[in-house]
Symmetry: none
Subunit: 207 residues, 4 copies
């Protein structure tokens, strides 16, 4: 639904009501087409045709292609926020990162995130939307978890939670966007283990 995620809405009462099923159909069509042909090759006309509707109906809901795909992405990603379980810190982090990587790499919705980030480079509104509706909610959860872990003694003192999130997830997005190397179990473990144990030799640590 087109709630606060991106402009556009109005709580009217009179007049013919919006066909709510169209929202879904359009987003479904959009995400599928992006998955099939790639973001750039998808046109609004094609989405309308696939969703068996008209351009008018689409433009009434979203101002541009990116907005449709953005909302579709969020809908697909909604069930992804899973509260951290009670495993040890390392396992929890690896589980979360693995789940995210899997979402990105295997689901039609997830695969579009790179295209969205791409468009966001030249579309400030979309960039805001991504930060507000995708990044920040997740960072908030992660931040809370990290601070709890710190209190529980699982993290040393002096850690900047925000930087830590970037230290863990940054490499993941980096490989996702640049595609220079695989994002697999081994990579995630390396990232997490380096972050946990550090890369300095032990003697320096114990000093």
């Amino acid at each position: 639904m087109s709630d606060s995620r991106f402009p556009m809405t109005s709580n009217r009462s009179t007049g013919r009501p919006r066909d709510e099923t169209l929202d879904t159909a359009i987003m479904r069509a959009a995400i599928d087409l992006v998955d099939e042909r790639g973001y750039a090759a998808v046109t609004i006309d094609a989405i309308a045709e696939r969703a068996k509707t008209s351009k008018t109906a689409i433009y009434r809901r979203w101002p541009k292609k990116a907005a449709i795909v953005m909302e579709a992405f969020l809908v697909a990603a909604e069930p992804l926020i899973t509260p951290p379980d009670n495993l040890p810190f390392r396992d929890t982090v690896i589980a979360q990162m693995t789940a995210l990587a899997k979402f990105f790499q295997t689901t039609p919705g997830g695969r579009t995130i790179t295209d969205l980030i791409a468009v966001a480079q030249t579309d400030a509104a979309l960039a805001d939307a991504i930060r507000e509706n995708w990044l920040i909610p997740r960072r908030t959860v992660a931040c809370a978890y990290f601070q709890a872990a710190q209190k529980a003694g699982e993290l040393r003192d002096g850690i900047d939670s925000s930087a830590l999130i970037d230290a863990l997830y940054g490499p993941l997005y980096f490989r996702l966007l640049l595609g220079h190397d695989a994002i697999d179990k081994s990579f995630i473990e390396h990232i997490v283990d380096m972050a946990m144990m550090g890369i300095a030799p032990n003697q320096e640590k114990s000093s």
Copy 2:
């Protein structure tokens, strides 16, 4: 010039020679326009007009907009590869990261990297070009440095150099592309220090 960085070249001998100054003028125009209006808003016609030349002359040199900007970016970035000095590991890494961040954030050429990565999401050839001509050369240098450092005992055993590069630079690109937080001295130091010392509490370390 359009060498091996991206397709397009021909070793002729006869006929009117290419006006070499045009190469520069076109790239200059391209990079400036991108800086002024943003990548997406720049058209080939506009570049031609700004460079006081014609579309023909441009297409004779590069196959598409991204290729022009890519090469202009590389030319601007060329002097950036500085061999690691003989400072301690931490200082060297911070210096390199800081230099990169500065290039990205302050120079017209550097600011286009995000646009290039964006286009690369839907342009495999450009993605290859970025990896070949930008990422790999730098990773090779960094990798060599890391292995030397390891030999010198500045890094502990069992470190995957490739993952380490991503652990350090991934967060930087992440913030650059998503723009959710600042890339400043403090951030870089946090990233490096977490990587070096780890985030686990000391006792876990000494175990």
Copy 3:
């Protein structure tokens, strides 16, 4: 009201009765808008808005824009049919033509006739409506008057009344539609006098 002049009507009995004042309001709005902006620039939505009503209410009454304007035109033109007075032939004809010209050129309703004729070129139903409801009634009156005049010896024998009507009014509509010259007292008198006296030199006449 939308009587036999153009399709669309229904003699219901049950349910909420039509708001008769709406008919007038819509026609008023239509004719005014056409006068202000020109026929082509007027949209059904604009008429609805001006008449403070809805498209639905309009389409319930008329099938298309032309039909609204047509009926409004007829309503405005209704009082125009004035029975020929007992003046001499020449004066009567000039009076009738002058009245028509004045209606066309000075009243909002009258000024739309050119637009209606224009639309009728690509709308057979409207063409019929114009002939049935505008042209024929007037031609019938004129025809009767001409035949009476003939009987009274005011016209020579062998005159085709139908052609005579066109000979008198055709030039008027011609200038109205093509706008190549003024329709004024002088013009009308010229037309009538040429028709009456002929253009051939006198000797030819008396022969």
Copy 4:
């Protein structure tokens, strides 16, 4: 060709020259389509498709559909201006009117004049074009002929040539546009004869 008949032209020298055959092909396609489907049902896309070209090429030449059809009409009408022969006045005029009526009623190009006049009701530029390029040239010729005839004693004194033209051709256009009656030999003769001999009874004449 798109000369002074309607806006749009430029005598360049540099750059790829216009494909002159396209001008013809587009006008041909336009006139044929109008003839097949009627003016209103013809779209620019359809013209482009029929002429095996693109919308761009069309819009580069003419600003709107009416302009294309206008020029096509003029090209088709070009050979129509035939200098008056040396027949008696009545025969000459009938011949000219008959030729015009035939052009209007039987040729694809000629049949579009009504549509053009229709559009001209809401398009001042087109109205000008019609007057300048179609009406005035013919009126000039006719006017000269009438004045010569007057000098030769074939017309009586005191005739306004301009009004005479409208008296003869107005009825023709009137029936053409309103379609209330046929435009045939008999009609034309009636119009001409009424104009020549007048409709008043002889005694009034000789008085």
